[in-house]
């Protein structure tokens, strides 16, 4: 009862009362930039971290995964937020600039494939069908081209633009090669535009981050995806965490090892890993398994102590 009362009190006066130790001695700046998908988690971590360490300035930019990597690999920022793995050429550039990297998982996200609720004939899609639909020079113009039992209405496609990590991941997993896609679809970097598009067009099909589907489940319908084992799986927190949903992806942060020598960056990364599960759930993502966070903390600590003994 006391606990409930306390938590009510806390939410009521969250800005003034703090239930945890406040450390004012730690000072400095922690710079994050990158994926807009990872942004809500980074923002949440920065917000909570600064309650405990009010004199550390944590800033988060949104330049997209690729844009963040560009800044990261030249050493302009301490931590890169990414909704895909670092590419080889990015890793090479980082090495050229003498930047050592620690790769850490932060949360899970799924890519939802959605249609208009008026579309009731599509029950599920296989990865092969998705490939036929989205590959460059695709011959699929009507739903019937995809499956003879579907009506002969034209397919209208909606998807993210080429700067998005979602685009990179989707094309890599569906096409087998990253960034390979047909280009005659309506593209937007703003997922809300895609949601609105699909919700207003009964022939539409689109793909974007799972969190955008959850918030708009009333106006769009998600399509179960048939995985490699032949079972159609609906995206959900559970299937994404387990990895049974084919289009689940890890969200990561890339930490500059040299930056992490600074106590404020080190404290922030540890804080983020400890709280990522709780915070990612709060902002609409799927937390990783507890063990993965424990491993990530171990990996980070090991990397740091390894560096110290050099």
């Amino acid at each position: 009862m006391k606990k409930v009362l306390l938590s009510v009190l806390l939410t009521a006066t969250a800005s003034t009362s703090q239930a945890f130790a406040v450390d004012k001695s730690l000072k400095g700046e922690v710079k994050l930039d990158g994926s807009s998908t990872v942004f809500p988690i980074a923002e949440a971590a920065a917000e909570e971290f600064q309650k405990e360490y009010p004199n550390v300035r944590v800033t988060v930019g949104v330049s997209g995964t690729g844009g963040g990597m560009k800044k990261y690999t030249v050493g302009e920022i301490d931590i890169a937020n990414a909704s895909r793995k670092m590419k080889d050429e990015e890793a090479k550039k980082a090495t050229e600039n003498k930047i050592e990297t620690i790769e850490l998982p932060i949360a899970n996200d799924g890519i939802a494939v959605v249609v208009n609720p008026k579309n009731t004939f599509v029950k599920s899609l296989t990865l092969t069908q998705l490939k036929a639909l989205w590959e460059p020079g695709s011959k699929v113009k009507t739903w019937k081209d995809l499956d003879p039992s579907f009506p002969a209405d034209p397919v209208k496609l909606y998807g993210p633009g080429a700067d998005s990590g979602t685009f990179d991941f989707f094309t890599e997993h569906v096409m087998g090669t990253a960034r390979l896609s047909r280009s005659d679809y309506i593209a937007s970097e703003d997922d809300n535009v895609l949601v609105t598009g699909v919700s207003k067009d009964k022939n539409a099909l689109g793909y974007f981050g799972f969190a955008y589907f959850v918030e708009n489940a009333k106006v769009i319908r998600d399509i179960p995806i048939v995985g490699k084992d032949g079972v159609a799986i609906t995206p959900s927190a559970e299937t994404i965490e387990k990895g049974t949903y084919s289009l689940a992806r890890p969200l990561m942060i890339y930490v500059n090892k040299k930056s992490a020598q600074r106590p404020e960056v080190k404290a922030f990364v540890s804080f983020m890993l400890k709280n990522a599960g709780k915070l990612s759930k709060e902002v609409g993502y799927v937390p990783l398994k507890e063990a993965i966070y424990t491993d990530a903390i171990k990996k980070f600590d090991a990397a740091m102590s390894g560096k110290a003994s050099h």
Binding site: A14, S15, E29, K31, D33, S36, F39, P40, A42, E43, A44, A46, E47, Q50, R57, V58, T59, V60, G61, V62, S63, G67, K71, E76, D190, D191, N192, G209, A211, Y212, V214, E215, N216, L279, E282, V283, G284
Partner: protein
């Protein structure tokens, strides 16, 4: 009856009188041509048509504006309180505020104002009052007009290359305000030159005749007379700069900042960036917050414009 209608009516009355006079003067010719009265009717019809279409244009513009204001107001009104102004952004929409964005824009605006007035008005003075009129200065004039039409994102790229990277300012208030200054300096130069052109030459001549130097003439007579026009141009340009998101995003301005900048080299965020971020979030509550942000930004711009009107009235009366 509104004043515009009044004028139109009195105009058409005097026109009728003129028409009658013309008719009398034309005399027999009018009698020979039965069609004589029709062109006058046609002219009156054209007059009414013109009046109607500009009224319609005005109503359309106002209609869209009020629709926009109403829909934003309805969506954002609820969150508009002191918490919104005093809180930093948050993952929880109920606690999220606009503080770092407001102060970021104030910093950005203040510094942009200093740079752009200094360089903009300075360049206009040189070009209008001091420079020789030759092919070189007229080519500068053409370039400035062209620069005024360059898309703002290009200035963002320029700022990223020059201020952020080459000059090593980082993503600071200084780099941001210099970039925005570049964006609006051409507009300020053009507006200031128009204002300076409008100052009658007799004023300059009188000043020179009394033995004043060129600098004294400009400082004491030409510039004060041009202030209302210059101020209007500057404020309109500033309002544009304050509403820009594209060049700042290109520059790599930050999205989550939970402190107020304390110096020109501090990182910052700005109102349009925060609004843009909130509109792209999946949760509806953040979209409402974006509307609240738009209300605050509009209020800020209206404040700027009223300062411009104040300056214009004040200085206008003095002369």
């Amino acid at each position: 009856m509104n004043p515009i209608e009044g004028t139109i009516d009195s105009q058409s009355k005097s026109e009728t009188a003129a028409g009658v006079k013309a008719g009398v003067a034309a005399g027999d010719e009018a009698a020979l041509h039965p069609m004589f009265h029709n062109p006058r009717k046609l002219r009156l019809f054209k007059e009414r048509f013109f009046y109607g279409s500009i009224l319609l244009a005005t109503l359309c513009a106002l209609g869209f504006l009020f629709y926009l204001l109403f829909s934003i107001g309805a969506q954002g009104w609820e969150h508009l309180d002191m918490d919104f102004i005093n809180n930093f952004p948050s993952r929880k929409p109920a606690q999220a505020g606009f503080k770092s964005a407001i102060w970021g824009t104030v910093w950005l605006g203040g510094m942009t104002l200093i740079f752009s007035v200094f360089f903009g008005v300075g360049a206009a003075l040189y070009l209008q009052e001091l420079s020789p009129k030759n092919r070189f200065t007229s080519s500068i004039q053409v370039s400035i007009s062209t620069l005024a039409g360059v898309p703002s994102i290009i200035y963002g790229m320029l700022g990223l290359g020059i201020f952020v990277r080459f000059m090593g300012m980082g993503r600071s208030v200084l780099a941001g305000s210099l970039t925005l200054s570049l964006l609006i300096i051409p507009v300020i130069i053009i507006a200031s030159r128009e204002a300076l052109k409008a100052v009658p030459d007799s004023m300059r001549m009188a000043s020179f005749a009394l033995g004043a130097t060129r600098w004294q003439t400009v400082r004491d007579h030409v510039l004060p007379a041009a202030v209302p026009g210059i101020a209007t141009g500057v404020i309109l340009a500033m309002a544009r700069a304050m509403g820009e998101a594209a060049p700042l995003i290109m520059l790599g301005a930050l999205t989550y900042v939970a402190f107020v900048p304390s110096g020109p080299l501090d990182p910052f965020t700005a109102m349009p960036i925060q609004i843009f971020n909130w509109t792209s979030r999946p949760q509806e509550a953040f979209h409402d917050l974006a509307s609240t942000g738009i209300i605050v930004l509009l209020g800020f711009l209206m404040l700027c414009n009223s300062v411009a009107i104040f300056i214009r009235l004040r200085w206008g009366r003095k002369l």
